[in-house]
Symmetry: C2
């Protein structure tokens, strides 16, 4: 009880509309090593992963923070499924706004990971 406000199906999460996604915001989101790593795993696993599927060297609080930055910049989409929160790349929106950019970024990240020792 005490739905307080929206309720409906589960909890709602604020996502920017496609038109509101800014290149600068996307670049800033991906300029952090932890977030770039998250996005790479998300692209590799090609589908939805829960936050706890990631084994990041930071606390849960920090993990939540990074996922929120990625969501608010328009890089990922988050939805609740039970107690879990599923994450997926917004590749459809990004490809529409900036064709080829996401692929170039992922390729660049993969190349750098291969060049350095993973």
């Amino acid at each position: 009880m005490t739905p307080a406000a929206p309720a409906a199906a589960g909890r709602a999460l604020p996502h920017p509309a496609r038109d509101e996604i800014r290149l600068e915001g996307v670049l800033h989101a991906l300029s952090d090593p932890m977030r770039l790593r998250i996005v790479r795993e998300l692209a590799a696993d090609r589908g939805e992963l829960s936050c706890s599927d990631f084994d990041l060297p930071v606390t849960k609080s920090t993990t939540t923070h990074h996922f929120r930055v990625l969501r608010e910049s328009g890089v990922i989409r988050q939805t609740y499924r039970g107690t879990a929160k599923m994450n997926g790349l917004r590749d459809d929106d990004l490809d529409d706004l900036f064709p080829g950019l996401l692929d170039s970024l992922l390729a660049a990240a993969a190349r750098q990971a291969a060049r350095l020792g993973r």
Copy 2:
């Protein structure tokens, strides 16, 4: 007189070697609107521009700061020519490290500039 250290032809500026350029650093450098603008003009004018060729809405101090961030991240190359400091994209190094990335980024920036009112 009193060359103190290197001297040689004019003043030397510290640039990262190609192998030292990091994707995260490049993305961070380009995530600032002022710097993205500088890089776009540099790519459009296809050649070397002096710092004073830009008409940025910030002071000279701030302009110097942004050019340094771009240089230290490996995005541009800076050389002195008389009292002027010439700036050029390091597209050769960037294309070698991350093939196609710079073009994708410039295309994305152009697309966003066209979508919004310039």
